[in-house]
Amino acid sequence: MTTPDDRRYTESHEWIKLDGELLTLGLTQVAVDELTDITYVEMKTAGETVGPGDSIGEVESVKAASDVYSPLGGKIFEVNAQLADDPSLLNTDPYGEGWLIKIKVADSSGFDDLLDASAYQSLQG
């Protein structure tokens, strides 16, 4: 499986892209493979503020339920409304159409401490 190198990763299997102060976050292929078919996504709503490391919502699959965390804090700008109708987008395109949330970050200085693609991939063994 390929891990896109245009973004950063967490050990808890989120990916994070930063465009100026706007962060986009989703789940990695490893995460969706582990969860199996995603059946339900519930993110916090736009306008809410989250701190670094906070849960920003949860996803459920046929097999399990799991919290999703953002390593950076800020104000939620947008959630992916398409996932309410079609949560399977997370399975079919986790790095693209299956993105979860966009956050206007308060402080992006932690971004560079996150794993890059090769560091994340090497953690998967």
């Binding site: 493979d33 199996t36 078919d37 059946t39 339900y40 949860e58 459920e60 046929v62 097999k63 339920a65 399977s88 399975n91």
Partner: protein, 370 residues
């Protein structure tokens, strides 16, 4: 590969699963396919076409001798010593307290020859149990799990497909079986399954499993067969309200509470005493404190095993299994609920630890094939 993976049992079809891209998981000490691509798509294919399941992890025992029928009858909630040759019966192997050691399918092959299929997680326990109850010179018990494979073909088009190469199998009634010659070997084919669809389960020599799978995929109409993993097997059996040991059945759960009266032969005067009979008759006569109930849950979140069911704030039950039903596209669950509250339509709440879900009791099963 980690050390634990190397010690897992592999079914004769293991390489076939890996080649088909399955996600393999540890299930009861076996490396088994959880899914090949999508649990939901595999589930739907079983409801519309034909799914093929490797269920070789299930335990398979052969009982031979003059006392084979008596031994099995002593161990089973359902009378089995009068099973006709060529028929299979579903029953529950109980302890003296009327709890389940396992649920089993018992086939009668000949007057003095029976066969049992048991859950993988209980294979060793049941083998010891059957031996402790009465293996002797007049009944030998052989564990054939590792010499054989077991494959299920399930779905509304399964029998039509099988009719392409057998006239004998489609003529079987439900819960009947026959021996079929495949490549010169004897294969036991029964019209049984664990999905709520029509179909068959076949027990064949381990060495034949992969070639049989390849033969199947080369037949006319084979494009409608897709492999299905344990993930789909679980959601299919849940829609059809078939119990699963460790969820709806267990040593501490009164077996009669599961609500399948056909699985208990309690009023037959000709039947000899059997293990758990006193406790089961008491469960039937006085009712059990809780009963298995279907729950229809609002929204798209699933209830999971162990979650608490409440009514007006008071704990009244516990979830045994739950999922977002792929066929019905809504959240369904089974739960043991206080017997006084089991009426259809009764409202409950399910506490997930993340949210409180509204639920109403509904009759089982959730799904019945047409």
């Amino acid at each position: 590969m980690t050390a634990t993976e190397t010690t897992l049992h592999k079914t004769p079809m293991h390489e076939w699963h890996v080649a088909a891209g399955a996600k393999m998981v540890d299930f009861a000490g076996w490396s088994m396919p959880l899914l090949y691509d999508s649990i939901i798509e595999e589930h739907k294919n079983v409801r519309t076409n034909v799914g093929m399941f490797d269920v070789s992890h299930m335990g398979r025992f052969r009982f031979e001798g003059a006392d084979a029928g008596a031994l099995l009858d002593r161990c089973c909630s359902r009378r089995v010593d009068n099973t006709p040759i060529g028929a299979a019966r579903y029953g529950i192997v109980c302890n003296e307290q009327g709890g389940a050691l396992d649920d089993v399918l018992i086939y009668r092959i000949a007057d003095e020859e029976f066969f049992a299929v048991v859950n993988a997680s209980n294979r060793e326990k049941l083998f010891d149990h059957f031996n402790a109850v009465g293996a002797n010179d007049r009944c030998t018990i052989k564990d054939e799990t590792f010499d054989t494979a077991m494959v299920a073909l399930q779905g509304p088009k399964a029998m039509e497909l099988i009719s392409n190469f057998s006239s004998q199998v489609p003529a079987l009634k439900r819960f009947r079986f026959t021996m079929v010659d495949v490549f010169g070997a004897q294969v036991m084919v029964s019209r049984t399954g664990y999905t709520g669809e029509d179909g068959v389960e076949a027990i064949l020599p381990a060495s034949l499993a992969t070639s049989a799978a390849e033969l199947l995929s080369a037949m006319p109409g084979a494009d409608m067969i897709k492999p299905a993993g344990l993930g789909a097997r679980d959601t299919l059996r849940l829609e059809s309200a078939m119990p699963l040991y460790g969820h709806e059945l267990g040593e501490e759960i009164p077996a009669f509470a599961v609500g399948m009266p056909f699985a208990f032969t309690l009023g037959d005067d000709e039947r000899k005493p059997f293990i758990g009979d006193v406790a089961l008759r008491e469960q039937k006569a006085n009712g059990t404190p809780r009963k298995l109930v279907g729950l229809n849950i609002e929204g798209r979140r699933a209830a999971r095993q162990g979650m608490t069911v409440t009514s007006n704030g008071a704990e009244v039950g516990v979830i045994t299994s739950g999922c977002l039903s792929p066929t019905l596209d809504r959240s369904i669950a089974m739960a043991y609920i206080d017997a006084a509250l089991c009426e259809e339509g009764t409202p409950f709440e399910v506490e997930t630890g993340r949210a409180t879900l509204n639920a109403t009791a509904q009759a089982l099963p959730f799904y019945k094939s047409s």
